[in-house]
């Protein structure tokens, strides 16, 4: 379970998260929507400790992420993350990309790491690309590679930071399909997304962020069917 309490984040003088309170249960799929600059991506970065916070707490399975002495490298193994830019390691094949972290972070044997990697690549539909370098993969394939890379660490949670925003329109579908598959398998997911269809169909809850504040959270039927906040209404009217 992820518990976020009164979370504040500043970039210099810029107040990007203004007191966020949020619980994410095991098995839940939460979509986070809102305009660019509303703080939704920053929220993800504070959950796995890639960004420090100035006030408040994030607790993942009882571990206070921002407490002194927290082993972030260990914690991050529980929190897979997929970014807007897929960031495949260009010097490694697809298989090596996925096998690297299990090998060096988890200390798996080379054979074991490669086995895990092959299984995860098959899982995301790249079973025929094991020995291909990322430069020979499409954006959609590279993003699925990034998902497989994160899954290879056997995380408890997956954080998606606008995973489809940098993709050509015709490649968005395959990545969303993969995310949908993970959701159906019961993965706990927090998806920052601009894909309203995905948020509506796949999520258990949808949170709307506006200027660093979580304006509204609820089941998709409520957020999309009967939004309470004026900002949510305006955002959704423009998003459609």
């Amino acid at each position: 379970m992820i518990e976020i309490r009164d979370l504040h984040k500043y970039f210099g003088a810029l107040h990007v998260l203004k007191g966020i309170d949020l619980d994410v249960e095991k098995g839940e799929v939460l979509s986070v929507i809102g305009a660019s600059g509303s703080g939704k991506s920053t929220l993800l970065y504070t959950i796995n400790g890639l960004e420090p916070v100035q006030q408040g707490r994030v607790v993942v399975d009882g571990v206070d992420v921002h407490a002194k002495g927290t082993d972030l490298n260990k914690l991050r193994q529980r929190l897979g993350m997929v970014f807007q830019q897929w960031n495949s390691f260009p010097h490694l094949t697809a298989l090596e990309n996925v096998a690297l972290a299990p090998k060096i972070v988890k200390g798996k044997s080379k054979a074991e790491a490669r086995e895990i990697a092959a299984a995860q690549l098959k899982h995301v539909g790249l079973g025929d690309k094991l020995n291909v370098y990322p430069s020979a993969l499409s954006g959609g394939q590279q993003q699925r590679l990034a998902i497989a890379r994160a899954l290879a660490m056997e995380p408890e949670y997956m954080l998606f930071d606008e995973a489809t925003s940098a993709l050509d329109p015709e490649l968005v579908g395959e990545v969303l399909e993969t995310m949908r598959m993970l959701a159906e398998e019961g993965m706990t997911m927090i998806c920052v997304t601009h894909e309203m269809g995905f948020a509506r169909d796949v999520s258990d809850r949808v949170a709307f962020f506006h200027q660093g504040v979580m304006e509204e959270i609820g089941p998709p039927s409520q957020i999309f069917g009967d939004p309470q906040s004026e900002h949510t209404q305006k955002f959704l009217a423009n998003a459609r």
Partner: protein
Amino acid sequence: MSDTVSFFSGFAPRDLLFLGEAALRTMWISALSITMGSLLGAVFGWMLYEGKWVATLTLAPVLDVFRSVPLIIQLVLFYNFAPIVGLNLDPFASGVVILTIYTAALVANVARGGIEAVEPPMRRAARSLGMSYWQDMRHVVLPIGLRAVFPAWVGVALGVMKDSALVSVLGYVELLKASQILITRTQEPFLILTIAGAFYFALSYPISRYAAKLEQRWAQ
């Protein structure tokens, strides 16, 4: 029978051997200096990248001095003034020390460029997988950055190899010094400098070829 002592004699086959030996010395002093200088330079480059103002204020100006002052001046100054502080180094050791520092000063900026070539999002992705700072450095930044600046590093290495000719002013008999000795005796500068040039080329060319091959392989 002649009463005069002959100072001059023509170029003989055994002189080629003499030049060959000297070329090996050039290779040896270069390989040693380039290897140590590159390792040191990589550390300096990392310090420049990570060290914030401390490195900017202390290390950067020192490296600038070594990059800016002509190598020949550095060699002569070091060789002649090191004994004052009790460092009695022979020409070879003095040459290695200065060439190493000179290489390190050049490589430091190449290395910093290499680290900078790895975009922050790439490193965040590595860290998000649970890699530590050093795992990220070793398995992501090093291979990607190295590929990015490898051509620049090869340029530095070949430059230092040729600049090692300047160690001849200290009396170390490497390729250029050997050529000067032979020219004095044979009075055939054109022939001997051509041969020496060919030796330098023979030392550089395999390195450039090998580098080009590596780059080609990485480009896949």
